[in-house]
């Protein structure tokens, strides 16, 4: 009995370690982005949201997620890409858990499609060059090649806390 436990444990650890290096990738235009898979709570189809007044346009609104009020963010708009019509069949919302000093938040991001789950070990991560675009370099954890394609791995906590919420608050106080 005790042996079985001892055997099982490393396996669990391996799983976790493996999951830590796993990323869910999704498409925005033709670019592939990735988020830490442990942060993904669920993936759901796009449905109508309620607008929030006086917020930047990348805040699409709020959605009822089983009784919780969850804000939905359009990353295309946040990254100053061209916006597209949402399609209830294809457009997806990835519900993520975001950590901040104030605790945990649940937010949704809109993506064109979910593509894959891939493994990227820390050694494979490449530092993104600072090209001064709409995506602040701080929001990117690194770049990785998966199947000869570049995937941009996002630092979701930083992106949401600094890149979105602070933005909204700053706008609200102006």
């Amino acid at each position: 009995m005790s042996e079985a436990v001892a055997e099982a444990e490393p396996e669990v650890k391996d799983d976790l370690a493996e999951a830590r290096n796993q990323y869910l990738t999704f498409m925005l235009a033709d670019e592939e982005y990735g988020v830490d898979i442990l942060r993904v709570q669920e993936i759901k189809c796009w449905e109508e949201v309620t607008d929030i007044p006086n917020t930047p346009d990348f805040i699409k609104g709020v959605m009822n997620l089983r009784g919780a009020i969850v804000p939905i963010i359009d990353l295309r708009l946040r990254f100053s890409m061209e916006s597209v019509e949402y399609d209830t069949q294809k457009t997806v919302v990835i519900v993520l858990k975001v950590l901040s000093e104030k605790g945990e938040r649940t937010i949704g991001v809109v993506a064109d499609a979910v593509s894959d789950v891939c493994n990227v070990s820390p050694e494979e991560l490449r530092v993104a060059p600072d090209f001064g675009g709409a995506i602040n370099i701080e929001f990117i954890r690194g770049l990785a090649s998966v199947n000869d394609k570049m995937v941009i791995l996002l630092n979701i906590d930083h992106l949401i806390n600094q890149g979105v919420l602070q933005h909204v608050q700053a706008e609200a106080t102006v």
Partner: protein, 689 residues
């Protein structure tokens, strides 16, 4: 098979604190000259149950103290003692001490024995020194000898003040005798001459032999409560060699330990203290159970209907659903009412505070309360307590004058502090009124100028000046006292109240007194809402803030300075706010002729909101936007409607602020202008009429 007493401790504490509150109220009534026997009985009963409870949980200090207190109360009950000032004061002190003791025990702290014995002594002195119990001096001889079971030798020399902590050696001996055969000899060598003897001190020492007893722990347990107040030696004696080995007893315990028992408690009790509970009347629980019963019946009816449904049963289905919605609404109301408590819970602590404070300040103060039955949410009440205490203290310290000053001002010597609570719309209004000197306008103003809060040349209405006291670091008291005057209070008061979604204002008349008005929302979780439609979006407007809704009468529309408009309704000109503009919902201007106007009020402001349509009225559950997002201007929260969609709840106050910011600063000016125009028109009419 020991019963875990831990789970009952919390209940005991709560009941005890309630009992103490009741005692306090009654004692204050007694002080007012009410010597009704029933009041004494209430106090006695409360003391008695605290005594019983604390003895069960081995809180000896409390038990022994209440015992002495009970003695005094018993005298009063028997009519042997009148409830004079001295008695009431000492009893009030006792109540304080007990409260302190219980709090200390609850938090696992150390009990300050000296304070307890001081007051206990005072109580005994008051009773005429009857407190000291007769010391049993006769030998307790145990009967026949038993066989070779372990035997113990106990030497017990109590400290002189053992009796004053309510312990009685005779009781200890009786308990020992229950463990086995006890033989006992006393040593009166410490006994002084009769003249020098103090009846309340213990002089005797004892040597005991306990035969046929079990384990040492049982003996130690008996002495557990007195171990700090005596020299105790428990020695085991082997039956075969007890004569010779008496001295070198194999196990020896010298007991002069200090507080070893107490040290292990803290963690345990602290965890218990953190949990909060609520007392709910059984009638409310019964209603809940009834309602749940009805709900179950409705549910089974509906599921039966669903099993073989056909269109001709549609009518039944509709009735069933109607019943379901009625049931759930009633259930919701009752569940919410469980959280509601009358504000008397908060008010009841004030008589005592006023009593103590008036003595300290040398002022004569009468406290009046009205509307104690007003119910409010428990959370709101807990948070409102401190601000209330602060405001009452302030009124007494700064507001009310000394008797001499009052006489000089031609007022009765007795000052009045009035606490009142009432429902007003969707709010609870608590007012603290005093008939003192009122706030000093000039002093506040000069202080405000000194601190750069206002400009000297600013022309500020008096009432606005008074409200400056709520700003941080503002105190006008010339000298600091330990009652108030540090200027940290008022802004904390305001912050606390605002964190509950309430507001506080002060009105004052020099020489006549001041009134602090606190407005609070009824409950924090559920709101009566009016659903409205603005450009296709459904939003919720708190029903409590709506005064009326109306169809636009074109002739009453007045455009001022081109853009913004006011609507003349009866005697007023009310500014119009286009919600679609404030919330940036549409670029299209509303056509006011087809829109509806909702007149809302928030604080002093009264405005018209332009909406496209009024939808249903329903209760909505408020959900925070901040938990997953951040504060949104003009919105107090969100809710989920019956169809699963999210709807935003409008914060009327903030919306008005937004509207003002939105280039509508002229609003106020125009309103005044409008009113002036109206008055002018009226005057013209009067002249011509």
């Amino acid at each position: 098979m020991s019963i875990d007493l831990e789970q009952f401790k919390e209940i005991f504490f709560e009941e005890s604190f309630e009992g103490l509150d009741a005692m306090e109220t009654c004692l204050l009534q007694m002080e007012g000259g009410n010597d009704d026997l029933e009041i004494v009985n209430t106090v006695f009963r409360a003391a008695h149950s605290i005594k019983g409870g604390s003895a069960t949980f081995s809180f000896t200090a409390v038990a022994s103290f209440t015992h002495v207190m009970e003695g005094l109360l018993d005298d009063m009950r028997e009519g042997n003692r009148a409830a004079d000032q001295e008695v009431v004061n000492i009893l009030l002190q006792s109540v304080d001490l007990l409260r302190e003791l219980l709090t200390t025990i609850r938090e696992g702290g150390d009990v300050d024995e000296s304070e307890v014995s001081d007051l206990k002594e005072a109580l005994q002195v008051l009773r005429g020194g009857e407190g000291a119990q007769a010391v049993p001096e006769k030998e307790v001889e145990a009967a026949s000898e038993k066989r070779d079971i372990e035997e113990w030798e106990i030497s017990f020399s109590p400290d002189e003040d053992l009796l004053q902590t309510g312990n009685d050696p005779a009781l200890l001996f009786r308990e020992l005798a229950m463990l086995g055969e006890l033989s006992l000899t006393y040593d009166a060598s410490r006994l002084p001459d009769f003249e020098a003897m103090d009846a309340e001190l213990a002089y005797l020492q004892w040597k005991m032999t306990l035969k046929g007893c079990s384990d040492k722990a049982a003996i130690e347990e008996i002495f557990e409560w007195v171990e700090d107040e005596c020299d105790l030696e428990i020695t085991a004696v082997q039956p075969d060699r007890r004569a010779e080995d008496r001295r070198e007893g194999d196990r020896r315990l010298t007991s002069r330990r200090t507080g070893s028992r107490r040290e292990k408690d803290p963690q345990k009790s602290k965890a218990a203290a953190a949990s909060s509970s609520i007392r709910v009347g059984t009638d409310r629980i019964d209603t809940l159970i009834d309602l749940v019963g009805e709900l179950v019946i409705t549910q089974s009816m509906l599921s039966q209907l669903g099993e073989d449904f056909s269109m001709d049963k549609l009518e039944n289905l509709k009735t069933g659903l109607g019943q379901l919605s009625r049931n759930s609404r009633q259930l919701q109301e009752s569940v919410m009412s469980v959280r509601m408590q009358p504000i008397s819970f908060a008010f009841n602590r004030f008589p005592r505070m006023v009593h103590d404070l008036s003595q300290k300040l040398g002022k004569i103060v009468r406290l009046e309360t009205t509307g104690e039955d007003t119910e409010m949410d428990k959370t709101v009440m807990e948070k409102i307590n401190d601000p209330l205490v602060h405001l009452v203290r302030n009124s007494m310290d700064h507001g009310l004058e000394t008797p001499e000053e009052r006489r000089a001002a031609g007022k009765p010597e007795e000052g009045v502090v009035h606490l009142s609570a009432s429902h007003q719309g969707g709010n609870i209004v608590v007012e603290i009124t005093d008939d003192g000197r009122g706030l000093n306008r000039d002093k506040i103003l000069s202080k405000a100028i000194e601190r750069g809060l206002v400009q000297e040349e600013d022309d500020i209405p008096d009432q606005q000046i008074y409200n400056l006291v709520f700003l941080a670091g503002f105190s006008t008291a010339d000298s600091l006292s330990d009652v108030s005057g540090r200027g940290v209070g008022m802004d904390v008061v305001r912050r606390n109240i605002e964190s509950l979604g309430g507001s506080v204002v002060v009105r004052s008349t020099p020489g006549k007194g001041s009134i602090f008005t606190i407005t609070l929302p009824l409950t924090l979780a559920i709101l009566d809402g009016q659903l409205i439609n603005i450009k296709g979006q459904t939003m919720v407007l708190p029903l409590g803030s709506i005064i009326e809704s109306l169809i636009v009468d074109k002739t009453q529309l007045n455009a001022m300075a081109g853009e913004s408009e006011v609507y003349s309704l009866r005697d007023e000109y009310i500014p119009i706010i286009r919600l679609s503009e404030v919330f940036d919902l549409s670029d299209q201007q509303d056509d006011l002729r087809t829109a509806l106007l909702v007149v809302v009020e928030s604080g002093q402001d009264k405005v018209c909101f332009v909406v496209d349509d009024l939808l249903a009225q329903q209760q909505v559950v408020i959900k925070s936007m901040e938990s997953n997002f951040c504060k949104v201007g003009g919105v107090s929260g969100a809710t989920i409607l019956g169809d699963g969609n999210v709807s935003l709840i409008i914060d009327v106050n903030d919306t008005i602020r937004l509207a003002k910011e939105l280039g509508m600063e002229h609003l106020q000016a125009q309103q005044e202008q409008g009113n002036a125009k109206y008055k002018q028109a009226r005057k013209m009419l009067e002249v011509t009429g």
